[in-house]
C-alpha cells in the first residue's frame, strides 16, 4: 500500500504544460527529495497534493483514495494529515509561537488540556520554549521555520511536504531544519522535500526524483543532485 500515488498527472496553466504525465509512488515513512530548476513544477506538485490545485489530467491517491473526489470535510482531514512547511513560513502573524502551534491542535480537535501539555513540548522539541510568547515578527527566519515544523508536528501528520524550507535560511539554520526533518522521518513520518540545495541532497543520500521539462527524468533510491 502506498501513502501517495501520482498516476499520469499533468498540470497546465493557461494552456502551458507545467507537469506532463507524472507517475510515482511514496510509501509510508519514506524520505523523498524532489529536485529541479525553478518553475519546474515542484510547488505545483505539492499544491495538488493538498488540493490547493487540481490536476488537469490524471489522478492523485492518498492512502489509496482519489483526493479529487474528496469533499470539503475529507479535504480538511487530508490537510491535517499532510503538514506543509513553506519557504515563506506562513505563520499567523498576530499569534504567538505558542498560539500558532495551539491553533493547529485546535483544528485537529485536541482538548484544552492536551494543548496546554503538548504545545510547549513541541516548542521544546524545536528548541523554542523560551520564545513561546514571541510573535513571528520577533523571531529570526530559522526560528520561524522551527515554529512551522512544531505546528506541523502538532497535527501528527502522516506526510510532511517541505517546499524549499531552507531557501531563506543561513547554512547553519538550514542544516538544523534538515536534521529536524530527518529526525521526524526516523520517527515514522514520510517527508517530501523540494529543494535547490545540492549539498543537502547529496549529503542525505535518500530517494531523489529529478524533474525537468515537466517530466520525471530520474527517480533513484540513493540519488544525487544531477541537474
Amino acid at each position: 500500500m502506498s501513502l501517495i500515488y501520482f498516476k499520469n498527472v499533468s498540470k497546465a496553466y493557461n494552456g502551458s504544460l507545467i507537469l506532463d504525465n507524472i507517475t510515482f509512488e511514496v510509501g509510508p515513512g519514506e524520505f523523498i527529495s524532489i529536485v529541479g530548476r525553478s518553475g519546474v513544477g515542484k510547488t505545483t506538485l505539492f499544491k495538488m497534493l493538498i488540493k490547493e490545485e487540481r490536476p488537469t489530467k490524471g489522478r492523485i491517491f492518498f492512502n489509496d483514495k482519489d483526493i479529487n473526489k474528496f469533499k470539503h470535510r475529507e479535504t480538511t482531514f487530508l490537510r491535517r494529515k499532510t503538514g506543509m512547511v513553506f519557504q515563506d513560513f506562513r505563520l499567523l502573524d498576530n499569534r504567538t509561537a505558542y498560539e500558532n502551534v495551539a491553533f493547529a491542535m485546535e483544528v485537529a480537535g485536541y482538548s484544552e488540556q492536551a494543548i496546554k501539555k503538548d504545545a510547549p513540548e513541541l516548542l521544546n522539541l524545536v528548541n523554542l520554549r523560551e520564545k513561546a510568547n514571541n510573535f513571528p515578527h520577533q523571531l529570526s527566519a530559522g526560528e520561524k521555520q522551527r515554529v512551522v515544523i512544531a505546528r506541523v508536528l502538532a497535527q501528527r501528520p502522516e506526510l510532511i511536504l517541505a517546499d524549499e524550507p531552507t531557501g531563506d535560511l543561513d547554512p547553519i539554520n538550514a542544516w538544523e531544519i534538515i536534521k529536524l526533518l530527518t529526525k521526524i522521518n526516523e520517527l515514522g513520518t514520510a517527508i517530501m522535500l523540494a529543494t535547490h540545495n545540492k549539498e543537502v541532497i547529496n549529503t542525505l543520500g535518500r530517494r531523489v526524483i529529478s524533474l525537468d521539462g515537466g517530466k520525471i527524468i530520474r527517480d533513484e533510491q540513493e540519488g544525487r543532485y544531477l541537474i
Binding site: 480538511t76 482531514f77 487530508l78 494529515k81 499567523l92 499569534r95 483544528v107 497535527q155
Partner: protein, 302 residues
C-alpha cells in the same frame, strides 16, 4: 461545545484587540452607518409628525343660510356622521361663531367697531367636518355638493376647499416620498460603507485565512471568530453611536422645536431610547456579521 464557544470568543477578542487599527476603522465606519440609521428613524418620525400636523389642521366648514333652523342643521350633522369617511363633525352655532370672531378680533378695533355698527350677528352657523383620511375630503365635498341640503348652504365655492385639501394631500405624499427615498438611500449608503470597510479589513487578513485553510481548518472553524468579531464591532459601534447621539439630541432638540413646535426630536429620542439602542445594536451586529460572512467567502475557497 463549551470549549468551541470559549475558543471562538477568545480568538474573536484577540483579533479585535491585536488588529486594533483595523478594528478601530471598522468600528468607526459602523458607527457612521448606525448614526445614519438612527437619523433615518428620527427623520421618519419627524416627517410622520409633520404629516399628522397637516392632517390635524385640515378640515372643511360648511356654512348654513341664516334662516335654516338649528334642528335642521343638527339633523344634517347626524346624517353626515353616518358617512364612513367622516371622523368628526363639530356644530358651531351663530352665537359660538360670534364669540370666536370676537375673541379673534379683540386686538383689531376696526373689526370690533364694524361689528357693533351692524347691530346684529352677521355670522352663519356651520358644521366643521374632519375626515378620517385627508384623501377623503374630495369625496366628502362631492357628496355635500350633490346632497339634498345643498340649497340650505350659503353659496360658497366648495371647489376652493377642494383645492386646499388637494394641496395638503400633495404635500403629505411629497413628504412621504422624500422620506421613503431618503430611507432607501441612507440604508444603501450605510450598508455600502460598512461592507466595504469590513471587506478591506478581511482582505488584509486574507493571508491568515488561507494559512488556516492550509493547516486544515474547516470553513466554520475559520468563520466563527471573524463573524463574532464583526458582531462585537457592531455592538461597540452601537454604543459609540448612542453616546454621540445623546449630546447631539440635547443640543438639537430645542432648536428644531423653535422651527416647528409640534415636532419634538428630543421627546421621540428619549421616549424610544431603548428601542433605538436595540435597533441600532441589532442592525450593527447584522452589518458586522453579514459583511464579514460575505467578504470571507472568497478567501475560503482555497
Amino acid at each position: 461545545m463549551f470549549v468551541i464557544i470559549k475558543r471562538v470568543f477568545r480568538t474573536a477578542w484577540q483579533g479585535l484587540v491585536r488588529n486594533h487599527w483595523l478594528s478601530f476603522a471598522c468600528i468607526a465606519m459602523l458607527t457612521i452607518s448606525l448614526m445614519i440609521l438612527t437619523s433615518i428613524l428620527i427623520f421618519n418620525n419627524a416627517s410622520n409628525a409633520l404629516i399628522d400636523i397637516l392632517k390635524e389642521k385640515t378640515d372643511i366648514s360648511i356654512y348654513f343660510k341664516r334662516d335654516v333652523p338649528e334642528e335642521d342643521i343638527l339633523r344634517i350633522r347626524d346624517d353626515l356622521i353616518g358617512n364612513e369617511k367622516i371622523a368628526k363633525i363639530e356644530y358651531i352655532s351663530q352665537e359660538e361663531a360670534l364669540k370666536i370672531f370676537e375673541e379673534k378680533s379683540s386686538r383689531n378695533p376696526a373689526l370690533k367697531k364694524a361689528l357693533e355698527e351692524l347691530g346684529e350677528n352677521p355670522l352663519a352657523a356651520s358644521l366643521n367636518i374632519k375626515a378620517k383620511e385627508t384623501e377623503y375630503y374630495t369625496k366628502i365635498i362631492e357628496d355635500i355638493d350633490n346632497s339634498a341640503f345643498r340649497d340650505k348652504l350659503i353659496t360658497v365655492d366648495l371647489m376652493e376647499n377642494q383645492r386646499v385639501v388637494e394641496r395638503i394631500n400633495a404635500w403629505s405624499r411629497g413628504i412621504k416620498l422624500i422620506s421613503f427615498l431618503f430611507i432607501i438611500l441612507a440604508a444603501i449608503l450605510s450598508i455600502l460603507i460598512s461592507f466595504n470597510t469590513i471587506r478591506m479589513a478581511i482582505y488584509s487578513l486574507k493571508g491568515e485565512i488561507e494559512i488556516m485553510k492550509l493547516v486544515g481548518a474547516s470553513n466554520w472553524f475559520i468563520r466563527g471568530p471573524f463573524l463574532l468579531e464583526g458582531a462585537l464591532q457592531g455592538l461597540i459601534a452601537s454604543l459609540v453611536a448612542i453616546l454621540i447621539f445623546m449630546p447631539v439630541i440635547i443640543w438639537l432638540s430645542p432648536r428644531a422645536e423653535s422651527f416647528i413646535s409640534e415636532i419634538s426630536i428630543g421627546l421621540y429620542f428619549w421616549s424610544h431610547f431603548w428601542y433605538i439602542l436595540l435597533i441600532q445594536t441589532l442592525f450593527g451586529m447584522f452589518l458586522g456579521i453579514v459583511s464579514s460572512f460575505w467578504a470571507m467567502n472568497k478567501y475560503l475557497k482555497v
